[in-house]
């Protein structure tokens, strides 16, 4: 077709200091299509979209909107060109109403009344046209995330967006909510809008897009029609070589349970039950995977077991002791004392102090160990010696314990955390998202270490939102949905079967709770 494309990018480059985030990007997006952009974390997708939305400026290259060469100095200009964006982290004011959020930045005049009035009737029209229903007077903080995202879409439509960019829109959604979103996107496309969908999930690309572009390490490596490609081909393009997650491991030979959780319920600061009556056990010599869409209570489960968060009810049997979690005041240090290691989900926020040196981080959480003290003072020589040993064993690069951890790559940072937690030889290791934002080489290494730890007869509880990772590593899989464990599967669980469970649909007579 010779129709002018909605968006055309030519040789876009963007650098952040030494990082070349976008390299000579070319992209053509057809009008009235759903165009997917897929790539691993850190491939440069978000940067590219931020350039398109005027949030960042390209160092060089051309942007053509509707065939016209444009410069996009700021978001205001992007909005004026009919570009709307739904960010991964919603750009909403929590204590404003839906209406106020929609109007913000498009108020029509100095006084609010007129703009609010127009927005109210316009929202009604959009509701009818796209089936985007949401009460205009509710405060954002009272809305579930699915509806908050809807407000973001409404914001874009209210500004007459013709091109809608969605950045990882399903990360926080349940499968049902995601399906609903996809329906909305299809309606939008049928109305002639152009949709750009940024994601790292292959399944979504296959399900909804017309065309897909693949990014890898800042480069655009391919653009293909979705119907002419396959998940395998895309995955290969994403990672650059045809390795799919597969871990060589013997079947598990589990021994006695090393951790037993019964009837655990956790309530968050808003008073919402986030973990509901969960019971399961982990045995020595097995990896128990917890699958689920993020936000279904897995994070809270890990934090509670590791002593960071308080439980409402429940008991934990570990290290030969039974702990009543509803009354326990044990903190993370106490849990470490019970031979429990913890690789947290978010290493930047939680697992490391990035302004500290590598050797200081290598004892974070274990700093009270008498082995690291001489009298009243800390024994820096011993600490550094241990750090160097871990650096060698885990091939952490650069091999310099004096360097701040901020200066290590994602994979090496994760190895620092993993080394710290594994080398203390815990009976139980809690692991959250061990390979998030980690390059392929390090992923293989980390997976191998976890399996080795299992073979050394330790119990491992693995939480991951990457289904492939769960299936590759786990000897048993528990699926969490809405705070509950809704099913249990063995090592060879079917992907489709787990997917249904993660969506809250139980299609088999499985044992609730998973105590075997």
């Amino acid at each position: 077709m010779s129709e002018t494309p909605a968006i055309e990018l030519r040789k876009i480059n963007k650098r952040f200091g030494p990082v070349h985030a976008n390299k000579d990007i070319d992209l053509v997006v057809k009008k009235g299509s759903i165009h997917g952009i897929i790539g691993e974390n850190g491939a440069g997708k978000s940067t590219l979209m931020s350039i398109l939305y005027g949030f960042y400026h390209a160092d060089d290259g051309d942007i053509l909107i509707d065939g016209k060469k444009e410069t996009i100095p700021d978001s205001k200009a992007a909005i004026a060109m009919g570009i709307g964006m739904v960010h991964q982290h919603f750009m909403l004011v929590d204590n404003f109403s839906v209406l106020e959020n929609v109007v913000l930045g498009a108020e029509d005049s100095q006084l609010l009344a007129g703009g609010l009035f127009r927005a109210r009737s316009e929202l009604k029209r959009l509701e009818e046209e796209y089936e985007l229903r949401v009460d205009p007077d509710t405060l954002i903080e009272d809305l579930p995330v699915g509806l908050q995202q809807r407000v973001e879409i409404l914001k874009a439509l209210y500004r007459s967006a013709e091109i809608l960019i969605l950045d990882e829109p399903t990360g926080v959604l349940t499968p049902a909510e995601a399906d609903h979103l996809f329906k909305i996107l299809e309606v939008l496309r049928n109305e002639g809008k152009t949709v750009l969908l940024i994601t790292h999930k292959l399944r979504e690309i296959m399900a909804i897009t017309d065309t897909v572009s693949v990014m890898r390490r800042g480069e655009m490596v391919a653009t293909v029609e979705t119907k002419d490609t396959s998940m395998e081909q895309l995955a290969e393009l994403m990672v650059g070589r045809s390795v799919l997650l597969r871990v060589d491991k013997k079947p598990a030979e589990p021994k006695a349970p090393v951790m037993e959780v019964s009837n655990l319920t956790v309530t968050d600061s808003r008073g919402v039950q986030v973990v509901k009556d969960v019971s399961f056990s982990v045995r020595a010599g097995e990896i128990v995977g917890i699958a689920g869409v993020s936000g279904n209570g897995q994070s809270e489960l890990l934090e509670t077991l590791s002593g960071i968060r308080r439980a409402t009810t429940g008991t934990l049997k570990i290290h030969g002791e039974t702990i009543d979690l509803s009354t326990s005041t044990l903190d993370a240090a106490d849990m470490r004392g019970k031979s429990m290691g913890h690789v947290p989900e978010d290493r930047h926020r939680m697992g490391l102090i990035n302004s500290f040196t590598e050797y200081e981080n290598s004892i974070l959480g274990y700093h009270r160990d008498p082995a690291y003290s001489k009298g009243l003072l800390m024994d820096l020589a011993t600490i550094k010696k241990n750090a160097v040993a871990e650096i060698e064993k885990y091939d952490i690069r650069p091999p310099n314990p004096m360097l701040k951890t901020a200066n290590f790559s994602g994979g090496n940072q994760q190895k620092i955390v993993l080394a710290r937690e594994i080398e203390r030889d815990p009976e139980v290791l809690l692991v959250g998202q061990p390979t998030r934002g980690v390059d392929i080489g390090a992923i293989e290494f980390i997976h191998r270490r976890l399996v080795e730890l299992r073979d050394a007869e330790k119990g491992i509880l693995l939480v991951s939102v990457e289904l492939d990772e769960i299936r590759a590593l786990s000897d048993r899989v528990l699926v969490m949905f809405d705070g509950r464990i809704v099913g249990e599967r063995g090592a060879n669980a079917e992907e489709g079967d787990l997917g249904l469970l993660m969506a809250g649909v139980d299609n088999s007579p499985s044992v609730q709770g998973g105590m075997q």
Binding site: S46, Y53, M91, L92, N101, Q110, L112
Partner: protein
């Protein structure tokens, strides 16, 4: 007794006026996410500017303008440090308080050679009290008379301006585009930025608004309530205003009530000095002086409601690098 009470209320109004102006000033700044502990310094700077110019020109209005000018300049400095350079807002506020305290005394001494004070203001250099029509005639009417003649009438124009600023601030905040954006930028600047609005310019406008109102507050001290600038004449009023702002949970109407309460405490303290209270004995005047601070600490502790500041207050805005 009733007369006494009216007199106390009358001085309550006078004493709470500078607090109210400074408190509303802080409200604009903090609602936009810029914490301002430099209210004290801006007020002091404004008091000096107003006192000096009113003395030289014998014109109260020019004095007010000068006060506003000084205060806005200090506000812009705060903005430059905390908005443009993303410096620590508390540190910047502390610096402004010192700068104002030092410079006013230093320049005052250099220019006027009266130990840092400005000379007594000439005729016309002061905002004088405005007597409302019929005030004298109505004075003897029971109840209504004293209220009208003492409490409502007989204040200078800045007092009325301060109390008019309350509904005005409410209207700006909740009924105008600027207000909507101001509140939004204090809660989630990224939302404002992605809506195509400049966070920087919006916050600068907020600190300018803050500067203007602090200018009024300072001018009130030196050329309306007082008759000239005196060294460190704010004497912690900026901090009481800050306490009032927190106490009022960053809301205009509550700000007025809180400032009136703190002004009332001050008025009572002056009135009670050296007087025995039946059954209690003499209450030390220091107790009343400390009471606004004690009340604010109790509020901050969450024992009387919870003071939740604007979510982005104190955090410099930086575009996230994803």
């Amino acid at each position: 007794m009733f007369e006494d009470f009216i007199l106390i209320l009358d001085s309550t109004v006078r004493l709470s006026t500078p607090l109210l102006l400074a408190c509303l000033a802080g409200l604009y700044s903090e609602r936009s996410g810029v914490v301002d502990i430099g209210l004290e310094g801006k007020m002091l700077g404004a008091a000096f500017g107003a006192g000096a110019v009113a003395y030289i020109t014998a014109n109260a209005w020019l004095g007010l303008l000068a006060g506003i000018g000084v205060s806005v300049a200090l506000g812009l400095l705060h903005g430059f440090a905390s908005i443009s350079n993303r410096g620590n807002q508390i540190v910047s506020g502390v610096a402004i308080n010192f700068l104002a305290a030092g410079l006013t005394a230093l320049l005052g001494q250099t220019w006027f050679r009266q130990g840092g004070r400005t000379p007594a203001l000439p005729e016309g250099g002061r905002f004088t009290d405005v007597t409302w029509p019929m005030a004298e005639q109505l004075r003897d009417v029971p109840v209504i008379g004293p209220i009208y003649a003492e409490l409502l009438s007989g204040h200078n124009i800045l007092v009325y301006a301060a109390f008019l600023a309350v509904p005005l601030t409410w209207w700006v905040l909740f009924r105008t585009r600027f207000g909507l954006r101001l509140r939004a930028v204090g809660e989630n600047p990224a939302a404002v930025d992605t809506a195509g609005i400049s966070v920087t310019w919006l916050r600068y406008r907020a600190v300018i608004a803050c500067g203007i109102l602090c200018g009024f507050a300072g001018a009130y001290l030196s050329i309306a309530q007082g008759a000239g600038f005196g060294v460190n004449m704010t004497a912690g009023k900026g901090f009481i205003a800050l306490a009032a702002l927190i106490f009022a949970k960053w809301r205009p109407a509550s700000a007025m009530l809180t400032c009136l309460l703190f002004g009332f405490l001050d008025a009572v303290a002056i009135r009670m000095q050296g007087q025995e209270l039946p059954g209690v004995g003499e209450i030390p005047v220091q107790f009343f002086q400390a009471l606004p601070y004690i009340l604010t600490v109790i509020l901050l502790a969450g024992f009387i409601g919870k003071a939740i500041p604007p979510k982005a207050a104190g955090i410099p805005y930086l575009k996230e690098r994803s």
